[in-house]
């Protein structure tokens, strides 16, 4: 039984300062996860050298891998801290903030771009009106199944982190919002805005900027069929572009 849990954490005091590494040795207890170890550091913020330090900042909420808030790079893999069990991780455990999003402090990043991209592609069903629109049409069971798969996306940012074509140089919209376009385009009510969504992902930084590295599906903790969704949307955007051209 190890006495300590050895951690190496990449820290950063604020968005403008340079990052630095700090090591911690947390007394071992069985059945801990990365979040509970970070909570231990918060209780007793002393680094491996025995010096008092500022407690490590990180984000978390649900603690059951459905919100995506605690996503960070653990031993080089992008994943959620809540489902990263200490007993299953080789030590020293390295913790780094996501590299594709601006760091707020330590392990906390600003993933607002994900929300902005979801807004950009209108990832919702329009049901608001000044009067009762009545019940919507039923979703066929066959369709509901794969749409449910995609609805499990928690916008954690793992696919963005792993995608080589999403970076500071490119304007690529990223895998997660594309899957949502497919889902809402096949929803019977959402399909009313189908053309608009397709037009939106056919512009600059749209679906064509996907380079088919297919890291997204490997990195997705929810195993959402992202590559299938992108391929399907490739077909739909091509058909749509031809229709659009002949109707112009």
């Amino acid at each position: 039984m190890p006495e300590f849990i050895h951690l190496k954490i990449k820290r950063q005091n604020n968005p403008n300062e340079a990052p630095y590494w700090e090591e911690f040795k947390v007394p071992y207890k069985p059945n801990m996860n990365v979040v509970s170890v970070l909570m231990e550091i918060r209780k007793n913020p002393v680094n491996a050298q025995g010096k008092k330090t500022a407690p490590v900042t990180w984000d978390c909420s649900c603690l059951e891998e459905v919100c995506g808030a605690c996503t960070m790079i653990i031993n080089g893999n992008v994943r959620q801290a809540c489902s990263a069990l200490i007993d299953k991780l080789p030590q020293p455990i390295t913790l780094q903030p996501l590299s594709k999003f601006p760091v707020v402090r330590d392990l906390k990043v600003d993933r607002n771009v994900l929300f902005e991209h979801l807004k950009k592609v209108k990832a919702w069903v329009n049901i608001d009106g000044t009067f009762d629109l009545g019940p919507g049409p039923r979703v066929p069971e066959k369709e509901r199944r794969w749409m449910y798969e995609i609805s499990r996306c928690m916008t954690c940012g793992c696919c963005y982190e792993a995608c080589p074509n999403f970076n500071a140089k490119s304007s690529f919209i990223g895998p997660a919002p594309l899957a949502q376009v497919l889902r809402f385009n096949h929803h019977p009510t959402g399909a009313m805005d189908k053309e608009e969504r397709l037009n939106l992902i056919m512009g600059d930084g749209g679906i064509t900027d996907c380079g088919n590295a297919q890291n997204c599906i490997e990195a997705c903790p929810k195993r959402i069929p992202l590559t299938t969704a992108i391929a399907k949307l490739n077909r739909e955007t091509i058909v749509h572009s031809i229709r659009r051209w002949f109707a112009s």
Binding site: A168, G203, G205, N212, N215, K232, R235, T237
Partner: protein
């Protein structure tokens, strides 16, 4: 919004298409033509002569090879620049392929500039025709044989792997199962074209 941004979809699709038609088709034809050298110097010269007597040859070469190739190359190099490769962090098969696709793009680019200048553009300006003897003079030197082999391998890889990504980008191969089948087809094609290309090179070096 710039022209590139406005027509991003169309430009990307043309980039993807030109890789297969006409460039990939031309590459296949070119490797098969080279393997005519297996039939001996005289036979090879005869076949090359036949090609050189095609009507509107220069026009065909410019419209169906030079322009699509320049378009595909210039945009492609920009797309190479746009990617931030991460094969050290994410060691997945397709990620390695993505990386290799960009590495082979650069190798093929350098090789094609050298190869087309020395064996076509420069020659055409000097008025010398390509023959077995001419090619033999180059590739019988071990250094140039290796340069040609590397250039050929890079081009063949880039084309074979490009078919896989083309099939996805054009919405042909959608699900994971059919994508795996395309992976197999592309691997077989890579092996077949490598065999044809290498046989042709060896015959030209003999």
């Amino acid at each position: 919004m710039s022209f590139m941004q406005k027509y991003n979809f169309l430009i990307r699709k043309i980039h993807s298409l030109t890789g297969i038609i006409p460039i990939g088709v031309f590459l296949t034809e070119h490797l098969i033509t080279n393997s005519f050298a297996l039939g001996g110097a005289e036979y090879y010269n005869e076949r090359v002569e036949a090609f050189q007597q095609l009507p509107f040859l220069v026009g065909i070469e410019i419209v169906f090879i030079a322009i699509p190739l320049a378009f595909h190359t210039l945009l492609g190099l920009y797309y190479v620049y746009l990617a931030k490769n991460n094969v050290l962090e994410y060691k997945y098969f397709r990620n390695y392929m993505f990386y290799l696709q960009r590495i082979t793009a650069i190798i093929t680019f350098v090789f094609v500039v050298y190869h087309s200048y020395t064996t076509r553009i420069g020659r055409a300006m000097a008025g010398i025709e390509i023959s077995y003897e001419f090619m033999n003079n180059i590739v019988s030197q071990p250094v140039f044989f290796i340069i040609y082999l590397i250039g050929m391998l890079a081009a063949v890889f880039h084309f074979s792997n490009g078919i896989y990504t083309f099939a996805i980008s054009w919405g042909i191969a959608i699900g994971p199962q059919v994508q795996r089948k395309f992976q197999t087809i592309c691997t077989v094609l890579f092996i077949a074209l490598t065999a044809i290309g290498t046989a042709g090179l060896i015959a030209l070096a003999a």
